[in-house]
Amino acid sequence: MPSSFLALTSFKDKYSTSPSSFQVSSGREVMENSAPLQESSLAPSNGTLGNSSLSPSIVTDHMCASALPHVQHSHNPAFISQSSRDLASLPPLDASFSQSTASLIRTQGNKDVSWSLDRLQMFLDLPENTPAPNQLVESSTGVLASEDHNKKTNWQEWADDLINVVDPDWSKILDNTNVLNPRVEVPKPSGDISKQQPQFHQNQLVPHGEFSSHAYPSSTAPPTKPRMRWTPELHEAFLEAVNQLGGSERATPKGILKLMNVEGLTIYHVKSHLQKYRTARYMPETSEGTSEKRITSIEEMKSIDLKTSIGITEALRLQVEVQKQLHEQLEIQRNLQLRIEEQGRYLQMMFEKQKKVEDEKGGVPSSASDDLLAPLPGSKHPPCNNGKSDSEALEQDHSRTGIGPGNAGTNEDKSSSGVSTKQKMLETESTVHDESGFSVSKRARTEK
């Protein structure tokens, strides 16, 4: 699949030349694309079911904006989209992690540094954690470390190889794509959301001046109990207020709310948070919540401990190692999932654009595309707009405002051959939409 490969490597090229800007633009792009998609798809749900409670579960504009940094965060350096088949043959994407993950597992820290209370105190005093050098003694960790390192170098080499295979025209196309992305503004259907949004947006700014862009809510159906997403910073502000008011027993929700002075924070939020806090304070040995949670392996291990002569500490260490592994794997998986979706989205867009170009040119596609564009028997999608999902309609919008006639010439050659390849790649995802003006309603679908 040469052309698709080129398409994908151009992402890398774009990224490697200006990593930060790519992150930003790609992140923003995801936001821009997804916001209209979400909002437009609110309409049919509301229409057919007449139920406005659907809308809250879908992220809206403001949430998009505040979620932006998270998308950025997951776009790590060495971002390369590849077909998953290729991915399978590669070492896992360790190098694509954020640095902190890497440092934890790979740092062969000062092993000879003994456990010092001073360091512990210092550590505790820091509000935001600056990781002290790790004292990983486990041999298993050592094994992990070396393996990870090998994978990292392999990955980097492979990535570097890709950089050299760059098709500049594709980057131009991508540039155009980014620039010409329409932003379809759909008025928010639910008044509740729009009421809540601007308030919560402020949350980020008030506490401490440093805001975590994490503090956006996801509104649930009943507007009387909006869900608040707490952050460590917000919690710090909460603690300050509580302490000023004389401790968790004496402080009242009203007083806390007033002291915190965070816009959008309601007394319900404070109340429930205070309750959680009180529970956590006065049940430190058992857990917060059911005691069932605390049926841990350690307790079992303790009893059998005597027979097998294993230190509890060792058992705990083992547990931590396994937990760390799970966490690492989860991060890898999540990154993969994000990339897969992003790749799918890009391909879909490119394909739509190409289709648009061909339509504009009066339907003179290459023979390869022709086969794929031939109407399939029993085509399921009705031409009328009622049946179409709004996402399809939106993709048409994308195509419409996509590549103008000026660009058609340059990319047509590549695109035509690219279309057939992309068709195969998109599998069940690929569709061809016609605006109602065209006589034939075509739909191409490749089976696996």
């Binding site: 209370l117 291990m301 705990l316």
Partner: protein, 260 residues
């Protein structure tokens, strides 16, 4: 069906309070089958069915979001409290504390170690919760598109990617901070490698219920799910690379429900 089985296993092994918070994968699959079999009827019926499907999915997403954020809030509080607790213990019973007592200190530290490790485990399990539900959603959407010829998957999954329950950055950050605390709180010991490995193998035989078991189950499930599906495509995840796979598999020795 493989994913469904895996999910069910994980749910069974999960913490009790979590068990009804997972994706209702089986039910959704049934619905998809119903929709696809009733396809032959009116076009308008299809749009209606899709709306119903979307409605259910949104309900599931709401469920995830609510649960996830509640847990996250708890974790934030507990994380801070653990730090305070450590500080208190040091300041009270530590060598330089107000009433230094090595026995008390050791005792309290042991408790703290246990609590921290379990806390770490719980947080990781929440990340796992988020991921497995996302995976389930992606699969169900894929099934839907495949069976009904719909175009639901791509745009819908984009929305899902921005849901609070999927954005696990904060919890991951807390996990890493916790790991640092663990490193501080666990003494450095000078055992040689062989001994450590031997002890670990013995520890394997007593792997018990609760968080540890759930973690092991989650890891192995993940590996299995990604082993290579029958419908491998461009939106599938590649097989997982789990370095200590054998070791982790052996943790299941006493498991009544082997996950192999």
């Amino acid at each position: 069906m493989k994913f469904g089985k895996r999910l069910k296993q994980q749910i069974e092994e999960s913490l009790p309070a979590w068990r009804d918070k997972f994706l209702s994968y089986k039910e959704l699959k049934k619905l998809v089958r119903q929709i696809s079999s009733a396809e032959s009827c009116v076009e308008y019926g299809k749009a209606d069915a899709e709306a119903e499907f979307v409605h259910l999915l949104n309900n599931e997403i709401d469920k995830f979001n609510v649960f996830f954020m509640e847990q996250e809030e708890d974790f934030i509080i507990r994380h801070k409290e653990l730090q305070q607790r450590i500080k208190r213990v040091i300041e009270t019973w530590g060598p330089n504390g107000t009433k230094p007592s090595e026995a008390e200190y050791k005792d309290e530290m042991a408790k703290i170690r246990k609590d921290i490790v379990n806390f770490h485990g719980e947080m990781v399990l929440l990340v796992n919760y988020s991921n497995i539900n996302y995976t389930g959603l992606a699969k169900i959407l894929k099934k839907y598109d495949k069976r009904t010829g719909g175009l639901l998957r791509l745009p819908f999954i984009q929305k899902v990617l921005q849901q609070p329950f999927f954005i696990t950055d904060l919890v991951s950050k807390l996990v890493k901070e916790c790991e640092n605390i663990i490193d501080e709180v666990f003494p450095v010991e000078q055992e040689d490698e062989e001994e450590i490995v031997k002890e670990q193998r013995e520890a394997i035989t007593v792997a018990g219920k609760g968080i540890f078991r759930n973690t092991v189950a989650a890891l192995l499930s993940m590996q299995e799910i990604r082993r290579g599906s029958s419908t491998y495509g461009h939106f599938s995840l590649p097989p997982m690379d789990l370095p200590d796979s054998d070791l982790i598999h052996s943790f299941q020795l006493n498991s009544p429900i082997p996950i192999v």
